[in-house]
């Protein structure tokens, strides 16, 4: 019995030592190496951003924004759907309150990701790290950060942001600038990149979760109907998006609430 206990204690202390080692080497290596790793992982993301933000820039041009305004919006907002919804509202000369609500709804998934990240922060980490990490939560940057083990390292995220965020901002400005120089054929082709990106986000989860698959199909139908039906088609695109989101997501949550275990 004593022997067993001794063995157990040995194993435990060994495990603790390893954990402490890992912790220390992790902490020693982290800041600089994690930053470099983040910069490297940000490259493919940045390339993807260039194509999609170019498409977003075309939208910005269509609603009358200058390349600098489009650049500024992308640098500060870092959001595909959110900026798209915002630009569309700018084009419609929407009220300031409407653009705020539209941005909120279109970016609601970042709220969810931020919640998920809050569960993975090293206890006692400074509020500045929390704020800077929050600044560029996107589908991709959240994805690569959350896929790593253990507590999130702020410097890994900073590295990835440093590579990817400029691509997003310059890509948008380029789209606004070159959108007017390119032949209509190419503008037409580039402008669907954004929708392709949306599809790549909403379609794959439907394979595992049939509720999502049916919900997406229902959304397409409802959105199409809303653009044709009297009265509701008279509302702005942003308002329709808000209404449909609250109705459909609320309905799905009421009818098909999710089990805490199946959540990611």
């Amino acid at each position: 019995m004593d022997e067993k206990r001794a063995e157990f204690t040995d194993t435990m202390s060994l495990k603790c030592d390893n954990a402490a080692d890992a912790w220390e080497s992790g902490a020693a290596e982290t800041d600089r190496q994690a930053f470099g790793k983040g910069m490297r992982d940000g490259i493919p993301i940045g390339l993807g951003y260039l194509a999609v933000s170019f498409s977003l820039g075309i939208v910005a041009r269509n609603v009358g924004l200058t390349p600098f305004q489009a650049f500024l919006a992308s640098l500060l907002c870092n959001a595909s759907a959110g900026e798209y919804a915002g630009f569309t509202s700018i084009g419609a000369q929407a009220a300031y309150l409407e653009i705020a609500v539209v941005t909120l709804i279109a970016n609601a998934r970042y709220l969810l990701m931020s919640c998920a990240m809050s569960q993975r922060m090293r206890p006692g980490i400074s509020i500045w790290h929390r704020l800077f990490m929050a600044f560029d939560i996107t589908d991709e940057l959240f994805g690569i950060a959350i896929a790593r083990h253990g507590f999130l390292n702020p410097f890994y995220t900073y590295g990835a942001i440093l590579t990817a965020a400029p691509c997003w901002a310059f890509g948008t400005a380029l789209g606004t600038l070159a959108g007017s120089l390119l032949p209509a054929r190419l503008v037409s082709a580039f402008s669907v990149a954004l929708y392709g990106m949306f599809l790549a986000i909403i379609i794959p989860p439907g394979r595992k979760d049939k509720v999502v698959a049916v919900l997406v199909a229902l959304c397409f139908a409802a959105s199409f109907a809303a653009s044709k039906l009297p009265v509701i088609s008279g509302l702005s695109e942003g308002t329709r998006t808000i209404l449909l989101t609250v109705l459909l997501a609320g309905g799905a949550a009421a009818l098909f609430p999710r089990n805490p275990e199946e959540e990611t």
């Binding site: 909120l104 929708y195 599809l199 379609i203 999502v212 459909l248 609320g250």
Partner: protein
């Protein structure tokens, strides 16, 4: 006439607040099942609503937009990543409009 810079400032403020508030304020798990489910479904609904029928008006010919939508849905279902789906949609529109426009 509204000021575009004011619009951009509002967009930036809301975008930042929505990302920063949970990360700075939440130190525990959210328990309410309806809220969790609602938050889970919101991104799919919003993006789906913004994609269709808008994609039909983004292209010169609505038929090309529809083709891009179908191709994008199939490619994403089969597991193509974000960049590939986006490029495929562009390629489809470019090819289709050679015949349609």
């Amino acid at each position: 006439m509204h000021n575009p810079y004011f619009y951009i400032l509002i967009m930036a403020g809301v975008s930042f607040a929505i990302r920063a508030l949970p990360l700075t304020l939440i130190r525990r798990q959210i328990r309410n099942r309806f809220i969790r489910s609602f938050l889970y479904y919101v991104p799919y609904v919003t993006l789906a609503v913004m994609t269709f029928p808008a994609i039909l008006h983004a292209t010169q010919s609505p038929a090309a937009g529809l083709l891009a939508l179908c191709a994008g849905v199939i490619a994403a279902w089969l597991g193509a990543d974000l960049f590939r789906v986006a490029v495929l949609c562009c390629g489809i529109v470019l090819a289709a409009e050679f015949f349609l426009v």
